[in-house]
């Protein structure tokens, strides 16, 4: 059970149980994207309020596994109040952390996602929210798919 705890850290379990910013369309939201992982059926909708290049508010909803829900919840916490550039840097950092390419930089609390690296089948669960964020920041209109 111990090595399983490296994946399902207490922080992950907590964010799965009580996802932060788990609500539909915060008032004044002006960026949206949806993400879909066809392999496991995970669905995610992300809404952002961006003012003067700063993420003022964020909300997400959908259905997913613990890894995907916790990753989305942690993401919303970490990008709130950040500039678009900072959020994009976090996206690249998490991506590097999960795909083990390059130095992810200082990710703070998001480092708990590192446990997913040992579970190749689950990496896409963790990246779904982040790819959806990337799409929302780029104002992409097509739904994001992990496939």
């Amino acid at each position: 059970m111990d090595d399983l705890r490296a994946l399902y850290e207490e922080v992950i379990l907590d964010h799965n149980r009580r996802p932060r910013n788990f609500r539909r369309v915060p008032a004044g939201s002006n960026r949206h994207a949806t993400g879909h992982n066809p392999l496991c059926g995970d669905q995610l909708r992300l809404d952002l309020v961006i003012e003067n290049g700063v993420i003022k508010d964020v909300g997400f909803d959908g259905a997913g596994c613990a890894i995907s829900t916790a990753s989305a919840s942690l993401m919303t916490e970490s990008i709130k109040g950040k500039t678009v550039e900072q959020a994009e840097r976090l996206f690249r950092g998490v991506h590097d952390l999960l795909t083990q390419r390059g130095d992810p930089g200082d990710l703070g609390k998001l480092r708990v996602l590192a446990g997913v690296r040992d579970y190749p089948a689950r990496v896409k669960c963790a990246t779904l929210a982040w790819h959806t964020l990337d799409a929302a920041l780029k104002n992409a209109t097509d739904p994001v798919s992990t496939e």
Partner: protein
């Protein structure tokens, strides 16, 4: 290993000795993450008995050559082995003739072959293809493609809350425009065994042809295509303990005879000139290119293996396990079984309250228990039951009550972690 006649399959073994059977499957005797492997993903693919592995190796070691064209000894042996496999499959399905047994890559290719050849020749604009709401994507998409091409309409017979076909609705949808009924003999996502004999009777009375997708039925039930009177039957070798990459399309000779070829190439022709090509006889007309000879030989060995055990004995063993597992899972608070039809094969799809199936799968894997989590290539089934995915334990002939107990213990772990 001896080669009993597959006709003896119903005689079965006097006693179903699972311990001895398990010893035939080398892959079962391993540890996964420090725990003994408990393999409960048989609906995805089954493990292979030594008899199959040895047949593959023997073929490549001794007989490897191309078939139907060589004049040398090895080619004669390879051709003999390939055609002997066809004979075994004929007996396995109780088909009337070996001309009705076409080797394909798997059940999926079998469905596609019928959709593109029989379909193109027989389905016109305004015609209807009738399927059920429990189909695997492989028995949906080929018909959608056909319908798009010719302007036909795909109709879907609904299923009830247990996952059983609503027969009255099926009958109501069956009309004079119905050209073909395509249905799973057994559902991969729900385990439901369809009342195929009645389906075929009604379809024939309405003038429709019937294709049965036997991918999930073939490992669990004795199949008699003549008693069923079905027109097409497809199954995959790898789910009946044979190798991957090979499967079977059974078709009634008169239907296959009238169908245009599937792919062009070697082996499927008699005479080729630039003006005209004369196609080969059945079943070679549908087997373009060098076939998966070793795969067919391996499938032949798998069919022999099942025949020696007796499919009725296999079915009885699995049914007893299904009853045991259903009770055990239903007793766990928070578990919801998805698919509780009265007639079922040993497939248990389920959800656990508050835990996503993928998390169940990962935790169980840590306990050495292999299950499937996801939509099982049956997204419409997931929609019907309003779940994004399920966890699925599917049992095979080598599974035991201890395997089910390990699953239950694993689920307790899942609840500990996520509770």
């Amino acid at each position: 290993m001896s080669h009993p006649m597959p006709e003896q399959r119903t005689a079965g073994a006097a006693r179903f000795d699972v311990a001895r059977i398990r010893a035939d499957f080398p892959a079962l005797a391993q540890q996964v993450r420090g725990k003994p492997l408990v393999y409960l993903d048989n609906a995805a693919t089954s493990q292979k008995p030594r008899a199959v592995l040895e047949a593959l190796e023997r073929y490549y070691r001794c007989d490897n050559a191309n078939v139907h064209r060589g004049v040398h000894a090895l080619s004669e042996r390879a051709t003999g082995a390939y055609e002997e496999a066809r004979a075994k499959v004929r007996a396995f399905l109780n088909a009337a003739s070996e001309r009705e047994i076409v080797f394909v890559r798997g059940a999926t290719e079998g469905v596609n072959l019928v959709a593109s050849t029989w379909g193109r020749a027989n389905v016109r604009a305004g015609d209807e293809i009738l399927i059920s709401a429990m189909e695997h994507h492989s028995n949906i998409v080929p018909w959608q493609l056909l319908c798009e091409q010719v302007g036909a309409r795909l109709r879907v017979a609904p299923i009830d809350d247990t996952g059983a076909l609503v027969f009255e609705e099926f009958e109501r949808l069956l009309g004079e425009r119905t050209r073909l009924v395509a249905m799973a003999h057994c559902s991969n996502a729900l385990g439901t065994i369809n009342p195929v004999r009645r389906v075929i009777e009604r379809a024939h009375a309405a003038g429709a042809v019937v294709l049965l997708d036997g991918a999930q039925a073939a490992p669990h039930l004795a199949i008699d295509v003549r008693a069923l009177d079905c027109d097409f039957y497809v199954f995959s070798s790898h789910k009946v303990y044979g190798p991957t990459g090979i499967g079977v399309l059974y078709g009634k000779e008169r239907l296959l005879e009238a169908m245009p070829p599937y792919q062009g190439g070697g082996d499927m022709i008699k005479v080729v000139t630039f003006e005209k090509t004369v196609y080969n006889d059945l079943p070679y007309k549908f087997e373009a290119g060098t076939p998966h000879i070793a795969g067919a030989v391996g499938l032949g060995a798998a069919v022999d293996y099942l025949g020696a055990l007796g499919l009725d004995a296999v079915a009885a063993h699995e049914h007893e396990l299904l009853v045991y597992a259903t009770e055990a899972l239903a007793a766990i608070p928070g578990v919801r079984l998805v698919g509780t039809a009265p007639e079922k094969a040993a497939i248990l799809s389920f959800t656990l309250e508050g835990v996503h199936p993928h998390d169940i799968g990962t935790v169980l894997d840590h306990e050495g228990v292999a299950i499937r989590a996801g939509h099982h290539c049956a997204m419409p089934v997931m929609q019907r039951f309003a779940v994004p995915a399920t966890a699925r334990a599917s049992l095979g002939l080598y599974n035991t009550r201890e395997d089910v107990d390990a699953l239950v213990r694993g689920l307790e772990r899942v609840k500990e972690l996520f509770g």
